[in-house]
């Protein structure tokens, strides 16, 4: 590729975000943007890029919402659309949760290639959001080999790496 691929890495806060940060080496050489719900997470995104000797990534915030907060969910969806329109990613990578599903649906409309990585927390069954989002993703991954199946998610490894070198 002559141009650096533009990647948007997006997730909710908490465990989803911790897992997203562990994917940073896969984004080496890309024009990278992160999106999540907590402003202070920017420092972690910058630290991950520094640790990889990469330029500072873009950082975008969207509103946190749970499934009962209808107005906030609407606002969140609009913000996700605005972020996708601004970044125009070639590739969207998300570790969930619900905002990742919305981003995959919107990202596809804008021509992005999309990746859903189901949380390592889902050991015995896929997350509900993952079951919804997976079929719409170009690459659908589970982190547990037992959950891989034809027509469903593939297993290509886990965010739990080995011991520190």
């Amino acid at each position: 590729m002559s141009r650096r691929p533009r990647v948007l890495a997006l997730s909710s806060t908490g465990g989803h975000w911790v897992q997203l940060l562990r994917l940073a080496p896969a984004f080496d050489g890309c024009e990278l943007h992160y999106a999540t719900t907590v402003a202070e997470s920017r420092d972690q995104a910058l630290a991950a890029a520094r640790a990889r000797n990469q330029p500072a990534p873009g950082f975008h915030l969207f509103t946190d919402a749970n499934r009962w907060q209808k107005l906030r969910l609407l606002r969140q969806a609009l913000e996700l659309a605005a972020i996708l329109l601004r970044v125009r990613p070639h590739v969207l990578v998300t570790t969930g949760a619900a905002p990742g599903y919305v981003a995959i649906r919107l990202g596809r409309l804008l021509g992005a290639r999309t990746v859903w990585i189901d949380s390592v927390a889902n050991v015995e069954e896929l997350s509900l959001t993952g079951q919804l989002a997976g079929p719409h993703a170009h690459l659908w991954l589970t982190q547990w080999p037992e959950l891989a199946r034809p027509g469903g998610p593939q297993f290509l490894g886990s965010v739990l790496g080995g011991p520190a070198a």
């Binding site: 590729m1 691929p5 990647v7 806060t13 908490g14 465990g15 989803h16 975000w17 911790v18 897992q19 562990r22 994917l23 940073a24 080496p25 896969a26 984004f27 080496d28 890309c30 907590v38 202070e40 997470s41 420092d43 972690q44 991950a48 640790a51 749970n66 070639h90 590739v91 990578v93 290639r113 990746v115 949380s119 390592v120 927390a121 889902n122 050991v123 015995e124 069954e125 997350s127 509900l128 170009h138 690459l139 991954l141 290509l156 490894g157 886990s158 965010v159 739990l160 790496g161 080995g162 011991p163 520190a164 070198a165």
Partner: protein, 163 residues
């Protein structure tokens, strides 16, 4: 210091009560991250807590802690492993509506074999396991690399760069 976290999303009164009762009898130095309990929620009386720590302050607490006590959330578990700190987890249960399903129970069952991770099935097991960790200091987990498995990173990079 023992750092106690139940994540930042939802209450987990069953565990907060148990840790509070244990802190009262043991006199241990506990610091908690507990989302705002609200009017009906349980407020610990025997240790200080905040609703949410910023990532840098959170990392500093983990680094300063002798060990972590937490719900069986992957964020808490991965953070403990990255810092090489022992962690005692108690899973939220689906049938008690502490989270939407029993994924924490499944996570805990799978990860209990990892050195440095101890699992309390419920609040009755918790005090004894806490006493145990205080007495023995716990086994430090082998520090986890900050990055995902190389084969996952390679697969993801290959997907990103394919055309």
């Amino acid at each position: 210091m023992i750092f106690f976290t139940i994540g930042t999303h939802e209450p987990f009164d069953r565990m907060v009560r148990a840790v509070d009762a244990w802190a009262a009898t043991s006199g241990a130095d506990v610091f908690g991250q507990i989302p705002e309990p609200g009017a009906s929620g349980y407020r610990p009386r025997h240790f200080p807590f905040v609703a949410r720590l910023a990532p840098a302050a959170y990392a500093a607490k983990v680094e300063a802690a002798d060990f972590l006590v937490a719900h069986a959330g992957m964020g808490s578990i991965i953070t403990a492993l990255q810092h090489g700190k022992p962690i005692l987890v108690m899973p939220r249960r689906g049938h008690l509506r502490e989270t939407r399903n029993d994924h924490q129970w499944a996570t805990a069952s799978r990860l209990r074999a990892v050195p440095g991770i101890t699992v309390a099935a419920d609040e009755t097991e918790l005090p004894r396991l806490l006493d145990d960790l205080v007495a023995r200091g716990g086994t430090a987990p082998a520090p986890l690399s900050p990055w995902a498995e190389p084969r996952l990173l390679e697969a993801l990079a290959a997907f990103i760069h394919q055309r």
